[in-house]
Each structure stands twice: as C-alpha cells, then as structure tokens.
Amino acid sequence: MANIIYNTAAIITLVSIGIAFIRMIIGPTVADRAVALDVMTINAISLIVFIAYYSNRIIYLDIAMVYALISFVGVVAIARYLERGI
C-alpha cells in the first residue's frame, strides 16, 4: 500500500517537471526560463532522493546534495550575468 503511494508521489513530481519544462520553452524572457529551471532542479532533487531510497543506495543522497549546491550557484550566476554581464 505504502509503495503505491510513494510511486504515485514520484509520478506527480515527474509531471510537475514536465509542466515547468513547458514554461521553460515558451517563457518570453530569460528570467522566466531561469525560474522554470530552478523549479525543475528542485523537483529533480526530490526525485533523486526518492530513487536513492527506492533502489536502496544511500550514497545517491550525496548526489542530491551536490546537485542542490550546483543549481544554487548556477541560478545566482545567471542572476549576476543578467545584472552586469560576466
């Protein structure tokens, strides 16, 4: 029973990545795309943690952590680039 609910949650997260991806394609400005990318990465972090528990490899949690770190730095770099160039 619990497994079915966990899998449903993962599928809903996957669907929300898809919706954010549509916004990333049609988004009229760069900032829209960056926001959509931010949301996609955070959903992906949740999915990575889900996969870590699902396949019983706890080492994947470290990957989720590094991915969170890189996405934060990436979004801040995009913001800084928009503000005054590289």
């Binding site: 029973m1 619990a2 497994n3 609910i5 966990y6 449903t8 949650a9 993962a10 809903i12 997260t13 669907v15 929300s16 990545i17 919706i19 954010a20 549509i22 916004r23 400005t29 760069v30 900032a31 829209d32 960056a34 926001v35 959509a36 931010d38 949301v39 955070i42 959903n43 972090i45 949740s46 943690v49 889900f50 528990y53 706890i58 949690l61 470290d62 989720a64 952590m65 969170a68 770190l69 934060f72 979004v75 801040v76 995009i78 913001a79 800084r80 928009l82 503000e83």
Partner: protein, 114 residues
C-alpha cells in the same frame, strides 16, 4: 509509520505540482517566482521528510535534515537574486500591477544625480 510517511510524501508532491502549475499560469515573472519559491520549498520539505520517516531503518536522517536546511536557506536567496536581476534588466510587471515603488525611487535617484 511507513503509511504515514507515504501520505506526507504525497502531500509534498502535490505542493510541487502546485508550484509548477503556478509557474505555468501566473502572468509575469515576479508572480511566477512567488508561486515557484514558496510551493516548491514546502513541497520539498514534506517530500524529503515523508520519505525519510518511512525508511527510518537506514539511519540517514541526518543527511536529509542537511538537505532540507540547505533547500530552505538557498531557495529564497536564489529567487531574490533573480527578482533583483529581472527588475534591473527592466522586465515589465503585469498590467494588473497597482504600484511600483522601486521604479519610482530609481527615477528619483537619477534625477538627483543630474
């Protein structure tokens, strides 16, 4: 206990879906950020917490706590930086906007410099 964790995870994933829907439906970039930041932060907290209390036997609760703290601190910072950059590059607010104090103050500062 596992069922309880599963239900919390489901609630978290629903919040994540709401965040993505908000990104899709809102009219301008600032409103999108509002939905994107808040809903995804709470959604991630619920999702990770639910998964970890459903699998307490592996003893990696600490890593999940670090991950939750990290998301909670960096998510507002990155959206703040993006909002600031978006306003700086002159992305227009939607037509339904009531007022814009920042724009007014920018114009005032330029007038004083001249």
């Amino acid at each position: 206990m596992e069922l309880f964790g599963a239900i919390i995870t489901l609630i978290g994933s629903l919040f994540l879906l709401l965040g993505a829907l908000g990104i899709f439906r809102m009219p301008d970039v600032y409103n999108r950020m509002q939905a994107g930041t808040k809903a995804t932060t709470l959604g991630t907290i619920f999702f990770l917490f639910g998964i970890s209390i459903g699998h307490l036997e592996c003893g990696c609760f600490g890593k999940i706590v670090v991950l939750i703290l990290f998301v909670m601190f960096t998510n507002p910072v990155s959206s703040n930086a993006l909002a600031r950059a978006a306003h700086f590059t002159g992305i227009k607010l939607t037509d339904r906007t009531k007022k814009d104090d920042l724009e007014k103050d920018n114009i005032k500062n330029k007038g004083e410099e001249k």
